[in-house]
């Protein structure tokens, strides 16, 4: 039995244990502490002569030392670190070295070696390579001293100052260094909880696993713990709000459903056109499900997948086509990746968007063949299992395939088109409307290529060669096309890039924009161990959300976290404060595309197959990745604040012209009551900190907002609440989810 099996058994046992014990108040004691210890960099020169006790607490004085090589680019540096508690197989790639130069610019380096050099005191020698991914170190690092720190599982160590002087390189502590935000001791442990006590981490978890924390969800997780909640979510019925039920329509709208006034006659149903021929109903449904749906995790993961397997209403004509596509994502969100590949490849919405449905052996179209490799599964460069690039002898990344490979996949995918056969074969057909519901089919065997193809070749590849089907005709071709498709998808699925590629993408979507290689590797291992498991993605999602790099009350790594994309910014605020219609009499109508559009993101309307933002976008002014920052500019910084202003001080009103039928508003009554109960404003701030910032609001930030509250008469608690909520919601501290 291999290790991962043991692990999953342990997990199962853990769930059983929690299930058994959840009725007992003492169950809380069995939860593992999600907080990792904070690593400590040792600073005393000549560390070997010091007698070191393993620090019993975080305040224990750090001792010992560091040595270094020269600081030329690509040289290596050795530092010493303690107070880390490593899991099995956790090593160098779980750490990163960060250096800040004299001008305050920060560079980040991979750790290439980690060696236990003092077993009793748990001291590790850590070797870092001074070469950052974006090359900015070589180009820019200022001479002079550096401040070094190591990061591990989203936590930053103390900082260590390295000086150059006549005596050479010396190290000292960073006495004058900035206080690291946030401090870990602010975590709130809730003794009354029976399931999951760590309130800060509960909120963080819900930010990652849902469209925003709510009090009800927080209560639920507090009571049953993360694992049981996940198990519950994996099986939760979806969707809570029925999918839009608008059916297939002809490509050319009829005069009674074209949104125009023909011969003085408007459409008898004024919503006929927008409901059928635009993304309007599926967009509205998306938000309603995000606001009110019970199967939050499935909706969140499906939305993440929709940002990988992208199709867009820029080209997709009908809402029914998009709904049908989204159903595939939702249905397979906790399924097997290979099955998702199959259903997506034959999905007619995808087939239309990336032109596979018109690709024939006479007129092949490379679009889908290229993107299923490049964007959806493999990427352009060979990856190690931790998601880093494999490098050739000269340090350059190695391509995964070339144009010839694309051509061969293209030919393999020829001949598939919309299912326009008998109703037995294509049960969703509607006369006069193209069938964008049933999976694509080989309707004209003559369009499928019959020559031999060579697919991806990699160590262990088994389905590289697709044999020719010389002289085949009729149904033999359909069978051959189907077998070839399976062979091609197996060939992609089994490529070693898929596990780290998919794992890293989902981590970026749910948890943090620039995960450590170790985190990626842990998740990729789960992906690989479950390749044949029909619930593979369940295990992957669980591994992502329960990883120690995801969990903990507070993360201090300066590069940890992710900017909230506009959609998630909106849904989180809506869910914090119980979004309903403009007049509060009904649920929100979910008509919110104008609002997120101003911030750069409209659901189901990605500008291209490259999604709203690229996964390797470098945060401006830094040398590390933050995909969502591609949507954060001077312009959208302000539109984000203006959205907060509208929803907090006013509402999104009913507007027939924009087809806003009920509008959206939030309710600050509860915050108002906190403002009323405590005229100092402290209770309000405490609750906002707890709900919106998982208890990491810095004292400085709290003081700044408190001062504003104090300028408003205590007799106006609603205005106090509004201004305080606005300031939290518009702050960079909230815009960044960490």
């Amino acid at each position: 039995m291999n290790r991962s099996h043991i692990k999953s058994l342990r997990r199962t046992a853990g769930i059983l244990l929690i299930c058994v014990l959840m009725f007992l108040p003492a169950a809380a004691q069995t939860d593992p502490d999600p907080n990792s210890p904070t690593p400590i960099l040792l600073t005393t020169p000549n560390w070997t002569s010091a007698s070191i006790a393993r620090p019993a607490s975080k305040s224990a004085s750090a001792q010992s030392a560091a040595t270094s090589g020269s600081l030329a680019a690509s040289s290596q540096i050795v530092l010493y670190v303690t107070n880390v508690d490593l899991m099995e197989n956790e090593g160098a790639s779980a750490f990163r070295l960060s250096a800040e130069d004299a001008r305050g610019a920060r560079y980040r380096f991979p750790v290439v070696n980690l060696r236990l050099i003092d077993r009793r005191n748990r001291i590790y020698a850590l070797t870092a390579m001074l070469k950052d991914e974006t090359g900015s170190w070589e180009a820019n690092a200022a001479a002079g001293g550096f401040l070094f720190s190591v990061t591990w599982r989203g936590l930053e160590s103390n900082r260590l100052r390295m000086n150059f002087d006549a005596a050479g390189v010396t190290f000292s502590g960073d006495a004058g260094g900035a206080q690291t935000f946030p401090s870990a001791n602010q975590s709130v442990d809730d003794a009354s909880a029976v399931g999951y006590r760590w309130s800060g981490d509960r909120t963080r978890f819900l930010e990652q696993a849902t469209f925003g924390p709510t009090r009800a969800l927080d209560d639920r997780v507090r009571r049953i713990g993360l694992r049981v909640w996940l198990a519950e979510q994996f099986d939760a019925p979806y969707p809570t709000n029925p999918y839009p039920a608008f059916g297939l329509k002809p490509t050319t709208p009829s005069p009674d459903c074209n949104g125009l006034i023909d011969n003085g006659n408007p459409d008898s149903d004024p919503f006929c056109y927008v409901n059928h021929y635009t993304m309007y109903p599926v967009q509205n449904w998306f938000y309603k499900e995000a606001f009110y749906g019970d199967a939050q995790l499935r909706h969140r993961v499906a939305w993440a997948l929709a940002q990988l397997w992208v199709i867009s209403g820029v080209e997709v004509q009908q809402s029914s086509h998009m709904t049908n596509y989204y159903k595939v994502l939702a249905r397979n969100a906790f399924g097997n990746w290979r099955q998702l590949m199959q259903e997506m490849t034959l999905n007619p919405g995808m087939g239309g968007y990336l032109n596979m449905r018109t690709s024939t052996r006479f007129a092949p179209n490379e679009n889908y063949a290229r993107e299923i490799l490049q964007l959806f599964n493999i990427g352009l460069f060979q990856l190690n299992q931790d998601g880093t690039f494999k490098l050739d002898g000269e340090g350059n990344p190695i391509s995964t395939y070339d144009q010839t490979t694309v051509n061969n996949f293209t030919m393999t995918f020829t001949g598939w088109t919309l299912c326009e056969l008998s109703l037995t074969q294509c049960p969703s057909r509607v006369a006069g409307a193209p069938n964008f519901i049933d999976p694509m089919a080989i309707t004209n065997p003559n369009n499928h290529d019959l020559t031999a193809k060579t697919l991806l070749s990699y160590p262990g590849s088994t389905t590289t060669n697709v044999a020719a089907c010389a002289g085949c005709t009729g149904t033999a071709i359909a069978t051959y096309a189907n077998n070839s498709l399976n062979q091609a998808l197996d060939n992609i699925y089994n490529h070693p890039n898929v596990a780290p590629f998919v794992s890293k993408f989902l981590i970026q979507q749910l948890v943090t924009g620039d995960p450590t290689p170790a985190y990626v590797a842990r998740v990729a291992a789960v992906f690989n161990a479950n390749r044949a498991n029909a619930s593979q993605m369940k295990e992957v999602v669980r591994a992502i959300l329960l990883d120690p790099e995801a969990r903990g009350n507070a993360k201090t790594d300066p590069t940890y976290g992710k900017l909230r994309e506009p959609v998630l910014l909106l849904t989180n605020i809506a869910r914090h404060f119980e979004a309903r219609s403009a007049d509060r009499s009904a649920p929100s109508d979910g008509v919110l595309t104008t609002e997120t559009g101003a911030m750069g993101q409209v659901v189901f309307m990605a500008p291209s197959v490259f999604n709203f933002y690229p996964p390797d976008y470098v945060v401006p002014g830094t040398s590390f990745k933050g995909p969502e920052f591609a949507l954060y500019t001077t312009g959208t910084a302000v539109t984000r604040a203006n959205f907060a202003n509208t929803i907090i001080f006013s509402r999104i009103s009913v507007n027939p012209e924009r087809r806003v039928t009920a509008g959206t508003s939030i309710d600050l009554a509860e915050m108002q009551s906190f403002a009323q109960a405590d005229p100092s404003g402290d209770l309000l701030l405490e609750m906002l900190d707890l709900r919106m910032m998982h208890n990491i609001m810095s004292p400085q930030m709290r003081e700044t907002i408190r001062n504003v509250i104090q300028t408003i008469p205590a007799s106006d608690p609603l205005l106090r609440a509004r201004r305080a909520v606005y300031l939290v919601a518009t702050s960079s501290q909230y815009q960044v989810q960490r």
């Binding site: 001008r103 946030p182 032109n355 179209n365 144009q403 490259f610 945060v619």
Partner: protein, 493 residues
């Protein structure tokens, strides 16, 4: 806008300066360091420019099919002529008839006749076609990503360096925007010009050197400078960066504004928080400078690109107020990835492009800046000569070299520019597996090998913009791989 409101904004903008500076020094310390250095060096030598110049990039996202944008109409048997073009595209229905393209004569190729896509001549302002006759429109042919000059023979040489990830949108678009085809780069060539020149060219400017109307783009990314990104028209300039909720300056709303600003000076040990705060700071500072503006006089089309270029024109009209001498703008038209339905879709897009660029040219002429502002196109790549699909839905696939357009009074003359292909002209030989096709054998689809690199194209524009020769290699590190950094399409100083 009333006076008190304006003063209020100016006040708050002014009050911000100190706090904004703090975040900039912490995270963009290099900016001031570089600026200082530049100042020291250049104070004596190079004065602040005494004229205004701007470059306006129009990115044709998705890869415009240049093969149907600039078409040979002549029948010279020694060159790629109309018959060759038609033979390759007519069978699948992608060729224009001989009388459809808008004809023009190319001085450089013995005045032989070529044609523009017919969309170049439509619209209320007649589009770009007329500008050819006025010597305001240069065509730079057969340009693309190259690491070193490359020939068909060199395609077979595995040791000859080629651009990474050929025919991939994201990578090839990145190569056009970064000006690097050898490695993935994280700065754009405009961003690097801004890094090197902001201090020297635009001292005291109230706006960054670069403004994007379509969000953050690689083209605009510097290492030490940030672009401005604003919405296009019809949003007025006074609103593009204006935080709402502060219209009535009550004591508590002022306190809220002060706190909104102050929070951005806090918790900066998180690089993510610091980055977001810095960008917001820049928005709030520039907002104070954009509260008054004059409307432009030319009529712009209401397409997306029309509205983008209109906003650019409004910014340029404010150049005096903003104390800016050198600006680079970035606009984009989406939808050129015409694997399918190319004929109707490319027509729509090129018509929008042509009308908007023409309106912008007319507006610059009205502002007296026709020869001080240069528009140019970039695109991911060209498209296969061999069509994709056939019939009504016919399109084309990703390819390599492309033809680009440069518009303004600064262009040398209306002509073809670029470097000669195998046939002795800068227009490629339209033969599948021919001497200019990167591909071999029966599967070759006409992916033509660029003769001029994107760096050469960009360097020619950058020189006109005022980038000193000594800075060329800093902005275009691989320019030395090519025989010249000047393709000749811009007038010398």
């Amino acid at each position: 806008m009333n006076e008190s409101r304006r003063n209020f904004l100016l006040r708050t903008g002014g009050a911000l300066t100190m706090t904004a500076l703090a975040t900039q020094l912490r995270h963009f310390g290099l900016m001031s360091a570089l600026a200082e250095k530049a100042d020291e060096k250049k104070r004596a030598a190079a004065a602040v420019p005494n004229d205004y110049r701007a470059l306006v990039c129009i990115f044709l996202a998705g890869g415009n099919d240049g093969n149907n944008t600039v078409i040979p109409l002549h029948n010279d048997a020694n060159l790629s002529n109309y018959a060759l073009y038609s033979a390759l595209r007519e069978p699948q229905g992608l060729a224009f008839g001989p009388n459809v393209p808008l004809p023009f004569n190319v001085p450089r190729i013995g005045n032989l006749t070529y044609g523009f896509h017919p969309a170049f001549g439509v619209g209320a302002n007649n589009g770009l076609y007329e500008l050819w006759g006025q010597n305001k429109l240069a065509i730079v042919t057969n340009v693309g990503s190259l690491v070193k000059p490359t020939t068909k023979a060199l395609m077979l040489d595995e040791n000859h360096p080629k651009p990474y990830n050929m025919y991939s949108h994201s990578d090839q678009a990145a190569q056009q925007q970064s000006g690097r085809s050898d490695v993935q780069a994280f700065t754009g060539w405009a961003g690097r010009i801004s890094d090197r020149r902001s201090g020297a060219d635009n001292p005291g400017s109230l706006v960054p050197m670069i403004t994007s109307i379509v969000g953050a783009q690689l083209f605009t990314a510097g290492r030490t400078t940030l672009p401005l990104a604003i919405a296009g028209a019809p949003v007025p300039l006074s609103q593009v960066l204006n935080p709402q909720g502060y219209e009535s300056p009550t004591a508590d709303s002022q306190a809220q504004l002060a706190a909104y600003n102050a929070l951005r000076t806090q918790d900066l040990s998180s690089e993510l928080i610091a980055a977001a705060s810095h960008i917001t700071d820049q928005a709030i500072q520039v907002n104070a400078s954009l509260q008054t503006s004059q409307e432009v006089t030319a009529t712009f089309p209401t397409s997306s690109i029309g509205n983008q270029l209109k906003q650019v024109a409004r910014m340029i009209k404010k150049r005096g107020d903003l104390s800016v001498k050198r600006q680079i703008f970035f606009c984009q038209i989406n939808g050129f990835d015409t694997h399918n339905l190319q004929l109707p879709n490319q027509s729509i897009l090129l018509a929008q492009m042509s009308q908007a660029m023409r309106a912008f040219y007319d507006e610059m002429a009205a502002q007296g800046l026709a020869d001080k502002v240069t528009q140019f196109t970039l695109s991911d790549f060209g498209r296969t000569m061999n069509p994709a699909g056939a019939g009504a839905g016919v399109g084309s696939d990703h390819a390599w070299s492309n033809h680009h357009f440069v518009v303004g009074g600064g262009v040398t003359a209306s002509d073809f520019y670029g470097l000669n292909t195998s046939n002795g002209t800068p227009y490629p030989t339209l033969v599948l597996d021919g001497p200019d096709d990167a591909e071999f054998g029966v599967g070759a689809r006409g992916r033509f090998i660029p003769t001029a690199s994107i760096e050469q194209f960009a360097a020619t524009l950058a020189r006109w913009f005022g980038l000193p020769e000594t800075e060329m290699v800093n902005v275009f590190p691989k320019i030395g791989n090519f025989p010249t950094s000047n393709l000749g399409f811009m007038k010398p100083e």
